[in-house]
Amino acid sequence: ACSEGVVDSGGGGGGDGDSPEVTLTLVTAAVESTPNAAVQDWFLDELEERSDGRIAVERTEAYSLCDAPEIAECVRDGRAQIGVTIPDYTPEVFPSTSVVSIPFLGQNWQAIMHSLHDLHVNNADAQAQMESNGLHHVATWPVGRLLIGSNEPVSGPDDLSGLSMRVSGPLMQQLFENKGVNIQAIPAAEAYEAVERGIVDSMAAGMDFPVDYQLREVLSHWTDPGIGQYSSFGMWMQLDAYESMPEDLQQVVDEVAAELSSGVGAQEFNETAAQQCPPMMEAENVEELSAWDESVTASWEDETGDTLQDAWVDLATEQGLENAQGVLDDYLAGLEEHAVDVDDATLACIDEFQNS
């Protein structure tokens, strides 16, 4: 930094000599009281607590200082030091975390978060990718299982043909396109209107679409096709800010991050995600919330084979990730290693709906 502002203290408050050593500004796309904010907040609270107040986090409102697609850039250029957003907004920066978007692979929320954390501690290529962007990886977690929302029951891949659907992500688009789905490019904020006007008649998205984007009002059938997790939220620190901290504080950051990814994150996420269920249960318009028969999913997965994994390797390589195949292998090994039984809020809600 070649210049500083002229304002005396960073936080403006601390009067009794205990002002923090490091003040980190947070920019986030996680709106208050959403599951993603719960994961983020646990990390930030714990960071302040375990550093005995030597680290302070200045939290700005979601979307206020930097818009969601801009957050990675804000952290890279130093307007903020911690960023939380959807890495898919800037795919070229995050090829190492986009493994989450490979269909059928990510079935266990906790294992994905844990494996991605390990990947950015142990895999040199994944680490190099983050560092080349001026970022220090803290955590990446999935945003919830993919649901298909429509106004007709969809109970297998064959029912997909002819639907006009909003699907995001290149791999998911490829998967659905192969089943005869007409893929539509609609911004998330216009998804509701697009359904209302009949521009799309269906949606492939997580629980936040029916609940937070209100799509439960206009789509009556929601089903889990067994594709699993499909998109993620990421949290990163500015590399310079991380490296210029004293070593013991760096250690605190890494410890808290490790703990977050090895179980606490899942707990925080699921507790808040469970609150998305009552609105679905109470929605008068929702007739179905179900899951496909496992054998139906399995035969679709068999039919797809490794094509989408290969497609990911090509894409990630193109985006500058060295040895993408090695990264994928390490990720898959991590998934197996960390596969523990943790409740999934989406599956739990489907059970509740089925039994009501």
Binding site: P69, D88, Y89, T90, P91, E92, V93, N133, G162, S164, S168, G169, P170, Q173, N182, I183, Q184, A185, P187, I199
Partner: protein
């Protein structure tokens, strides 16, 4: 009009025309997408991204023309009540500051454009669409706008009024019937 000013106005006009063409592209891209969707039930790849890009080009390429033809609004509430000489001095200050801010915007945009180009900034829709060229559209727009500010600063220093006064042949003066100036 001296040579520099002619250059500035000419550049602004050319870019204004490109901005106007971008408006056509924007309209057509959306209409093509709507038509194709109606006929084939699927979006045309990249039409959404082309519309966004056209909007960026329209905004920033039109900036200098809007500046040279006096479309950027200001509040004359106070200055109308000040003596002419005071206003002349203030005009130098205002356009000096405007030049400084435009230069700053240009510098910031240029650095960002270099960075975006080096990492191939893009967005993922139906296809991966490059965003970095838009950063250069912003740089081009601010360059032309900086020149307009400079021309106004030079005019102010010479005690003349700012543009558009004294610039011939303005498309705006041909504007339709709702323009009271044209109607009178």
């Amino acid at each position: 009009m001296d040579r520099f000013e002619r250059l500035v106005v000419g550049l602004g006009r050319v870019m204004g025309v490109i901005g106007a063409l971008a408006i056509v592209v924007l309209m057509l891209a959306i209409v093509i997408d709507v038509t194709a969707r109606y006929l084939t039930n699927a979006s045309v790849p990249a039409m959404l991204e082309i519309s966004e890009s056209a909007l960026v080009v329209a905004i920033f390429f039109g900036l200098a023309w809007a500046g040279a033809s006096g479309a950027h609004v200001s509040v004359t509430l106070v200055s109308d009540r000040l003596p002419r000489r005071t206003n002349a001095v203030l005009q130098v200050v205002v356009w000096g500051l405007a030049t400084a801010l435009s230069a700053w915007l240009l510098y910031a945009g240029f650095i960002r454009a270099l960075d975006a180009t080096s990492r191939g900034e893009s967005r993922m829709g139906l296809i991966q669409f490059p965003l970095w060229p838009l950063r250069w559209a912003i740089v081009a727009g601010f360059t032309a706008f900086l020149l307009v500010c400079l021309a106004n600063l030079i005019r102010s220093l010479r005690g003349r009024t700012i543009m558009p006064e004294g610039i011939a042949e303005q498309p705006r003066t041909e504007a339709g019937g709702a323009d009271p100036r044209g109607a009178a």
